[in-house]
Symmetry: C2
């Protein structure tokens, strides 16, 4: 999972001026360092924690026919979590792997749900985040549904240049739904 939006940021800034909320939050939130290669969550496990990236990079992926299909990239301020697993308490369809040493804020999903109940502003943030995430998914879907491999790469380059800069080709390729050889050729031609 992944989202970002200006109004959500603002709402959070305001919310954290409330001391009660701040205390309740930092009672449960923990900062942790993760190393390159660590798994924040493994496919098949239930997602019990919500991870906010303070620095670093993470990718989501799942296995299909023995090969890894990348579903998302997350960077600073992005939230890492399997929405499906966390809300339904079902096995996660995807794993999340740390791509470079990352500082992460960890909150348990259970505590987060309590906080949402306790502080309506957090419930509001959650709802807005869901909306933003769904809209982001709609966009990505449209891109995969009918753009050519080259168009998809160019869209990625334009919208998320940090991905192209920082992530290895094989991950970008599977994210775009193509092989790394094809991606390499697209880049060579321009």
């Amino acid at each position: 999972m992944k989202y970002q939006e200006a109004t959500i940021e603002e709402l959070l800034t305001t919310a954290f001026q409330d001391e009660a909320l701040r205390n309740a939050y930092y009672e449960t939130a923990q900062e942790k360092m993760f190393k390159k290669g660590d798994l924040l969550l493994e496919q098949g496990q239930i997602c019990r924690y919500c991870y906010t990236l303070l620095s670093g990079a993470v990718r989501g992926f799942y296995l299909k026919d023995g090969r890894e299909i990348t579903t998302s990239f997350c960077f600073t301020n992005d939230v890492v979590m399997s929405l499906e697993s966390a809300t339904r308490l079902t096995p996660s369809p995807e794993s999340f792997e740390v791509l470079e040493d990352s500082l992460v804020e960890v909150v348990s999903v259970e505590k987060l749900n309590q906080l949402r109940q306790q502080f309506p502003v957090l419930e509001k943030v959650w709802t807005l985040s869901m909306e933003a995430y769904a809209i982001w998914l709609e966009e990505r879907l449209a891109s995969l549904q009918f753009a050519t491999a080259k168009e998809r790469y160019e869209q990625l380059l334009e919208r998320y240049p940090e991905i192209v800069r920082n992530v290895q080709l094989s991950h970008i390729a599977s994210y775009l739904g193509i092989t790394l050889e094809t991606l390499s050729r697209i880049r060579a031609k321009g």
Copy 2:
């Protein structure tokens, strides 16, 4: 937009036992018949109404290079709306076309927002719907990202046989991200 889930249904059933809510809702909701071919919303316009299908069928689509790309199919109990346009008041990226004469419950987005504020249970329904919709989109994304055309068709057949039964091939094909000729051949071979 499109969603459906058991717990949401249950929550709504309970909610509508509240007379105040029921009255407030039916003050603003209107039933309307739409005819095959009608557009509920046109690409580029702002989505000001939320449509719930009481009967019939609707499809969402957008134009790319002069051809229609189908993004969704909606049937009885599904909600038709451009999430992006309704929440951000931006031009809708997609149109919604009535596929067969349909009975529809219409509520303005503005009123719906008021009702959500007024009745927390409706806010909860909204949030759960967003979660369900995002999860549905994640699934669809995974399907488009790395399944072959045949696999995607078989998944559709299994999960949404009513689409395959009721909708014309060209719409199903663009929904799957393939041409209608390819879909026809997939069906022929089995």
